[in-house]
Amino acid sequence: MTIVENLSRPVSDVEREYAAALERDAAQLRRIVDLLQRVDVDDPLLLDVAEKLDALSEHLENPIDTVTETIRNPGWRHDPVSGVENAIAPPIVLEAGPDGTVTAEVEFGLPYQGPNSFVHGGISAMVMDHVLSAATAPQAGVIFTAQLTVRYHRPLPLFVPLTIAARLREREGRKIWATGEIVVDGKVAVSAEGLFIEPRPKAAQ
């Protein structure tokens, strides 16, 4: 069972197809995010690609026809970590187990590189924030980080499968504590603990 399924409300066929189209767009654009790190930085082909991408942006920014049906905007498809409609998200697809543990498998490529051949330390921090937030199982789909501590035990290599896990530790009113880690070859490379705050019920939509 994925987090997305947990959080999703019933959607119409129109909304579902609309979301699928945006997801396809982002998936193809994500290929280009990676390819830009692997093509000669002076290749004139890049200028041609840029011009054609700009034309597509123009089309989306200034639509000739607009939809009449309301298409809702679920934030969980947009974020920079798991957002399938966000081309800069890896994306990390989270799964929630029966015990509430949230897990994901991911391999990072060149766009997320820090030191040569290793994942950028800031990327690990970003991922930990997101995965711990998800483990708090926010009722409204929205939760705010109050404090997050990230510890780096060993570097995370690019291009190898990493296992990410997080779990809720304690809940006290709107305060929720969660912990998690990123594991490579069975060893903890990054660990984190966080305090999260649920919005007040009236603020939650």
Partner: protein, 201 residues
Amino acid sequence: MSEVDSGPGVPLAAEVAAQAVRRLTSAILDARARGVSNPDVSEKISALADRLEAVAAHPHECVTGEIGTQVGVLERSPVSGPKNPVAVPLRFERCEDGSSLAHAEFPRQYQGPPGIVHGGISGLVLDVAMAVANRTAGPAGMTAEMTLRYLRPTPLHTEVTVRGRHLRAEGRKVWSQGTFEVDGEPTVVCDALFITKEHVQ
């Protein structure tokens, strides 16, 4: 105040392409809000990706530097890299007091809760802000631990002042602090410990 990178010149083709990718990333995320009736442009993007794929090197050949023109780690970074569409990108400056400074406005692709910058983005950005400040004082080191405190939400599409400060060093340990500020008020404060290879003077 001096700039950390070489400053603006004629942008590389890869930087122009990265900017176009950033724009389209936002446009895809905003398509619902704009009510675009036919948002599927994936086949056209796919055809462009195929053309790039035909001239691209294998990922493993690209980890130590650039293909073609030599540009550094800052150029490809997911925070400051002009040729990396993951990056805003931020341009860090070094202030006279040794701190690092950058200004950023975060578009939709950095959103967590509606209208608010994703909490993880501040961890990503402040890690770099502190490393830049540390490098001014000596070796930057590797991040060992960071604690982020979120004081108030950081809004999207609003100027955020990003600062990194080197606090003190002892042996191989370096302590640093980074902040996000909006309208002069801190929104996120990050305290971090970095470990260097050699003892810091």
